[in-house]
Subunit: 197 residues, 2 copies
């Protein structure tokens, strides 16, 4: 990294460094049908990396369609790990795997998430598309709630995906619903690299 990547127009502006009087590991849920849930989780991973935190991201129900964050995260010179665990989106046209195959993949991902939490080795654990996986019965509600309950107090846990379960949202500290106001694909614009994948 020879070049300076971050600069300011106002070098004399004083920068405040916040420091909470109490550190808390938050549960954050990103749900809704609009664009911006996974990308927001990836952005939080960058933010956490900037603070020197250790980040783990487990992608449920993804892995069959290339997405730029795989290589983008690979290029991050910090303690971040992304594990693709799924067999692609369950029930989406073109996906060849039956429900039990998706469920077994999600159950493997769940075991991995449990290990990550129990080891205490992540400062931020992102469970990408887990809301969706629960909604599609690839996981059971008590399994997901158990994850939330076993979270170490200082670990941040981010859960993304459509159709978040009300009981999961109830336990969360911060919940955002990303609403679709409009989306390029409705104008028949195909998914574009760098934005959509």
């Amino acid at each position: 990294m020879a070049t300076r990547k971050v600069d300011t127009l106002h070098p004399r502006l004083e920068v405040t460094h916040l420091k909470p009087s109490k550190r808390v590991g938050l549960i954050v849920v990103l749900t809704g049908y609009g664009k911006g849930k996974t990308s927001s989780a990836v952005g939080m991973a960058v933010r956490a990396c900037g603070h020197g935190m250790k980040v783990c991201m487990i992608q449920f129900m993804k892995g069959d369609i290339y997405t730029g964050e795989w290589d983008g995260i690979d290029k991050m010179d910090c303690d971040v790990e992304l594990i693709r665990t799924g067999m692609g989106f369950c029930g989406i046209k073109g996906n060849p795997y039956p429900h039990p195959v998706h469920r077994e993949a999600a159950q493997q991902a769940l075991r991995l998430a449990r290990e990550k939490l129990d080891s205490g080795g992540c400062d931020l654990l992102v469970l990408d598309e887990i809301n969706n996986a629960l909604h599609l019965n690839l996981l059971d509600l008590d399994q997901v709630l158990d994850l939330l309950h076993r979270k170490p107090p200082l670990t941040h846990l981010v859960l993304t995906g459509r159709d978040a379960h009300p009981d999961v949202m109830e336990l969360a500290d911060t919940v955002s619903e990303v609403r679709e106001i409009k989306h390029a694909y409705r104008k028949d614009i195909e998914a574009q690299p760098g934005i959509d994948y």
Copy 2:
């Protein structure tokens, strides 16, 4: 980067590489009062970096409070640049600068955004908090619409911030409204590193 950061549980799963028949530079607006707009833009920057794209991010109205993405982006081994241009959030308690100082800073940022677009040197340009800057009259509507009109056809442009102007949303391809369902600060939990900044 000695360690492998991205892995899969299913190494034999076939990965499809999408390729749109037509490349389009999208205009994406991320607005609303919930958490996840800037982090989503940072996530798209990672995604674009993964595709080998050149990314520029201009932060309007930020710069006085440290946030982890500055160091996180600095640690990205790819062609990304983040420029903090603002004097902090205009009108927020504790910010000492009067409106004309914020406006001049936003105008500088706008000139920089225009240069970036005209040079064609960015594949993805993020204008972070520009919606907010327009709403607070630090920029004029015709100035922002002019930016959208001068965007090169293949450049992606992402505009974040609350209170996006209807005319900006009208010109956008994809618009997400991030709604706050709940937020930790309402339970008097202070902003936490890695999640909130």
